[in-house]
């Protein structure tokens, strides 16, 4: 799993875009192995019959016993999500909050999920709702002991559809130029990668879906992993905050955004350079 920026945040919410099922199968083995080693409960969510998945994971040391104990649960998409409907982001987040809490109560160190979610995002309306859910659960995962990898099938979804979802993850192997995900500290969201005219529309959509809210009149964007931002995107951040009666604050490691703001005489957007 790569984020295009290996120094990105280390919490675990990744997106795997795959065309070869073997790639997803290898990820499952890796995640089950890591989860068991870490004392986590592991959920594998997908469209396949449990026997098929069990057969694939038989080589993982201790898998059979772990499955009997409930350390590893194999769930159909319908069991973990409201399948074939437009997701209710709030309800879905509550379901995973409950699951995380139950796992902790049961003595696990956390909850680890690998979900093949292609069937949940086939239509534009499904993707819109699911992307909103992705961002909300991302905030939960950023701060609580839950991690997840969402797998999407390139043979079913086109590049644009996958980009809509992949950009809402801190880490992804999909070719998206920017990523928007949960921020830490007082940052409403974090931005990574690069923002330019080629992805301005996608960024506007992602920001609208994430719908970050200001605190005390400041809408803070952690852009410490945003390597490039063009003036259009700065204007967009400013306008997004302004519509919420807030000042946009871009926290960045680079001085260039501050020079652009000064050059354009932008008000309503503060650039804070951090090291």
């Amino acid at each position: 799993m790569t984020g295009g920026d290996v120094t990105g945040p280390g919490y675990g919410h990744g997106c795997l875009a795959y065309a070869d099922p073997a790639v997803r199968h290898a990820l499952e083995v890796e995640q089950v192995t890591a989860g068991l080693a870490a004392g986590e409960q592991v959920w594998l969510v997908g469209p396949e019959e449990p026997e098929v998945v069990t057969g694939r994971l038989a080589s993982v040391p201790g898998f059979a016993a772990a499955r009997c104990r409930g350390d590893v649960r194999l769930l159909s998409v319908g069991q973990a999500y409201r399948h074939d409907e437009v997701a209710d982001p709030g309800e879905q987040v509550r379901a995973y909050v409950r699951a995380t809490t139950e796992a902790l109560t049961a003595g696990y160190t956390g909850l680890r999920v690998v979900a093949e979610a292609t069937g949940l995002v086939r239509t534009a309306a499904q993707r819109d709702a699911f992307a909103r859910y992705e961002h909300r659960i991302d905030h939960w995962m950023r701060h609580r002991p839950m991690s997840a990898v969402c797998a999407y099938d390139r043979r079913v979804l086109d590049d644009a559809a996958i980009a809509e979802l992949a950009c809402m993850h801190a880490q992804t192997n999909a070719e998206v130029l920017f990523r928007l995900h949960a921020g830490g500290d007082d940052a409403a969201v974090a931005l990574g990668g690069e923002l330019d005219p080629s992805n301005h529309r996608l960024f506007a959509t992602a920001l609208e879906r994430a719908d970050p809210r200001p605190v005390a009149g400041r809408l803070v964007f952690d852009a410490s992993h945003l390597r490039f931002v063009d003036h259009r995107s700065l204007l967009h951040l400013r306008d997004h905050a302004r519509r919420r009666d807030a000042v946009a604050v871009l926290r960045t490691r680079y001085r260039a955004p501050a020079r652009l703001v000064e050059l354009l005489g932008l008000t309503g957007l503060l650039v804070e350079v951090v090291r």
Partner: protein, 320 residues
Amino acid sequence: MRTGAGAGHTGYVHEALLYDSDDELLAVVLPFLLGGIEAGELTAVSLDVRNAELVRRALPAGTEVTFLPGGDVYARPTAAIRAYRELFASFAATGTSQIRMVGELPPLLLGATWDAWARYESAINHVYDDFPLWGLCAYDRRVAPPHVLADVARTHPRLALSDGRHEPTDVYTEPATYLAECRPAPLDPVQHTVPVVELVDLTPAQARDAVRAADAGRLPPDDLDDLVIAVSEVVSNALRHGTAPVCLRLWRAPDRMVVTVHDRGPGPKDPYAGLLPAGDGSEGGLGLWISHQSCHHVTHHRDADGFTIRLTVGNPHFPV
């Protein structure tokens, strides 16, 4: 009530002052400044250190003339426009009936980057026209090459002469026409070498990566960031408004990086492209202006093959 050459005018009176000696310079500049003082107008001097001192010594003690610090107001034309517009706005806010200013470009700017300053001299006929400004642009005929003086004549409506007369240059050309002409800039010598990078049909992200990789720590970090911004903007513009294929070439010299972006289209239609911000950015139009602000020199070149924009960050003043 405006006085002198500005009497009866409502906007910018843009005159050239061509001189061959200190005496000839002073013969025009002193009455220009003293006449302004006498009329209660704001007067300012933006000359290099030597000529500013020459004028200062020649003025009666206590004359209230503003001597502007040289500094980097002439670092690039777009920056000069920004700085002077802010200055003139502050002067105009005092309620003065006229602003008189004499300025002179440093001799260095009459060389490899003159094409940009010729565009500046033309554009300001329009850009400063909302101020009650009488400006004298001084050019030393002993220094300015003939092609520069030819451009000066075409970009200034009138000449201020040492005998006090003001004559039309006769060849003055309206900015919209002048700026739309193809005015080939001299090739940077580094362009005669094989480019370090040559990319066709690239994305803005690939262009940015290419610039970062080619730099390898040579440019100061802020300069590199500025070049990355400029290249990203011009590639985005070429992809959006130009005609494929879009080709980027990059050359490296010890003191600069030079990038050209070519497409087969005719280039920007706006004669002021790059010199003025177009719109508020919400619909685009700022990118080229930002590129001009970010680089030490930008050239536009049109020919039958298409449009080429050349960006230089670092020292653009190669010998010509």
